[in-house]
């Protein structure tokens, strides 16, 4: 059992009369990068909410390391859509937010963050307010805030969705490099299939709402993928297969 870190089995969730998740099962092994893709409104983000405790599953089981996760076990570091940086905090105080919430002293929190500032390309911007940073930098700050909590697993909710295409590409390359180095266990929710193919070991494709896992794609491509010509070509064909699959399951015209 220990080779699976996170396991969802038959998770269902409804908001009143609206059935959001009908039957979601997935698993993530330690050090794996797993993505969830699916049509917009399918309930991708809801899966993360179930994990962070912001939403309650109505049926099904969730196991983390073989046990049901508790509300305050501190298992997941969550990075929300957009960056959710606090405009009233300087970058340094934004990235230490999670440590502050965990009652880690300011000096210790800053020491931990400062060791990573350079790697995240934020050196020299510690004293800036988020408004003064570019979209890519804000996103890197948000990711730093997430990883510095040193929780067993990262939950990334469309982290690059708000960026322009070029910046997004640069961020994907960067995060690929970072992942190769740190081997975070990560669950990524995205609507960008190319992004999912480039970054993931495995992709869960959701059906339109109510969501269930329509198909699972293993991506056995060697890394790094984003800089490699042949990997890119093979990734493109996988991307095409996922897109075909997505459109064939959607009844009626695409919206």
């Amino acid at each position: 059992m220990s080779d699976v870190l996170l396991k969802l089995n038959g998770v269902c969730l409804r908001y009143g009369a609206l059935e959001v998740l009908s039957d979601v099962s997935l698993s993530v092994k330690p050090g794996e990068f797993v993505s969830i893709v699916g049509p917009s409104g399918a309930g991708k983000s809801t899966i993360l909410k179930v994990l962070t405790g912001a939403a309650q599953a109505d049926a099904g089981t969730i196991e983390f390391d073989g046990k049901a996760p508790g509300r305050n076990d501190g298992l997941f570091a969550f990075m929300p859509q957009r960056d959710a940086l606090m405009p009233w905090r300087r970058i340094l105080d934004n990235v230490t937010l999670g440590l502050e919430v965990q009652n880690i002293g300011r000096r210790e929190a800053r020491r931990r963050v400062e060791a990573l500032m350079d790697e995240f390309g934020l050196t020299g911007f510690e004293r800036h307010y988020p408004a003064a940073l570019s979209g890519g930098m804000r996103q890197r700050a948000a990711l730093l805030r997430t990883v510095v909590m040193e929780r067993p697993m990262l939950l990334l909710d469309e982290p690059f969705g708000a960026l322009d295409a070029l910046t997004r590409n640069r961020m994907q390359r960067w995060i690929e490099g970072m992942w190769l180095k740190h081997r975070w266990t990560a669950l990524l929710v995205t609507h960008d299939i190319r992004e999912a193919v480039m970054l993931s070991d495995r992709i869960y494709v959701l059906s339109p709402r109510p969501a269930r896992v329509a198909e699972i794609f293993d991506i056995p491509l060697p890394r790094p993928r984003l800089r490699d010509e042949t990997a890119r070509a093979r990734a493109a064909s996988i991307e095409g297969a996922i897109l075909d699959m997505l459109f064939s399951t959607q009844e009626g015209p695409a919206t």
Binding site: G53, F78, M86, L97, G98, Q102, A131, A132
Partner: protein
């Protein structure tokens, strides 16, 4: 880029010019009003006892500057004490109603009713209850100023980005921590908007309270001047109260710059607000 270079090369003249551009229309409008008033008072043949020209008001204000100052200080004191009480009350009540839905439902109607009371009728009663000292003034100032701040705070809390609270919850933050780290700072721009509205009522509230009964203060000064048919002095005291309000208004803007610098109308903050 060129703009940036220009700005950094010669910040002083450029800033002065921008400031002048913003202030000039207001100054011209104000000068126009006073010029019209001066001409009308001098040319229409109206008695200076009824409507003195502004030049005469200024001259009388200067002649009675010591009296005016001596009476402005108690008014300012009542205003500031009342305002501090009001701010403290608004903050405490805003926290209470933010944490408890039942108390919000119970208290908000009471607050709203408190704002429907006619000050003209209430002020003499409050003086009757609390005497001619500082207390009734403080209470009346608080009564007229606390509501805009309370509403502003409540609105500010409600305007907190949902994602921020979700993020904090995912980090394991308690309700208190979420309030302290997200809701309260989010409400700060709203609080200052409410503060600016309140501060314009505050001096008027204090003068009203003094009008209803006081030993000293601009309100009682105005009442006495009126009873002695000294329109010039009435207007001089009105001008002083106006200046007091403007000074306090300016003070809130300076406070905002220092206490919540990320909101203080900086280009970056405006840009961000526009971009979201």
């Amino acid at each position: 880029m060129t703009l940036l270079q220009k700005r950094s090369a010669a910040p002083q003249p450029a800033m002065r010019r921008r400031w002048f551009k913003r202030a000039a229309p207001a100054a011209i409008a104000l000068a126009g009003v006073f010029a019209f008033w001066e001409c009308y008072a001098r040319l229409s043949g109206i008695s200076a006892l009824t409507l003195p020209p502004p030049s005469q008001v200024v001259a009388q204000a200067w002649a009675h500057r010591q009296d005016l100052l001596a009476n402005a200080i108690p008014t300012l004191r009542a205003t500031l004490f009342g305002f501090c009480l009001s701010l403290a009350a608004a903050f405490l009540l805003s926290v209470v109603v933010d944490f408890s839905t039942i108390l919000r439902r119970a208290l908000f109607p009471v607050f709203i009713i408190s704002q429907t009371l006619p000050l003209v009728a209430i002020a003499p009663l409050v003086v009757l209850w609390f005497g001619f000292g500082l207390t009734p003034k403080i209470l009346l100032v608080a009564l007229v100023t606390f509501f805009p701040m309370l509403v502003a705070l409540a609105q500010g809390y409600a305007a907190t980005e949902k994602e921020l609270e979700e993020l904090l919850a995912s980090m394991g933050a308690s309700r208190w921590k979420r309030f302290w780290l997200a809701r309260l700072p989010s409400a700060m721009p709203y609080l200052f908007a409410g503060l600016r509205i309140s501060i314009t009522y505050a001096v008027v509230g204090a003068i009203f309270a003094e009008y209803a009964g006081a030993a000293e203060g601009l309100g009682i000064y105005i009442l006495n001047a009126k009873n002695n048919f000294r329109s010039g002095l009435v207007l001089a005291a009105v001008g002083v109260s106006s200046l007091l309000t403007l000074a306090l208004f300016g003070l809130t803007i300076i406070c905002q710059r220092f206490l919540v610098p990320w909101t203080a109308g900086s280009a970056a903050a405006d840009h961000q607000r526009g971009g979201q």
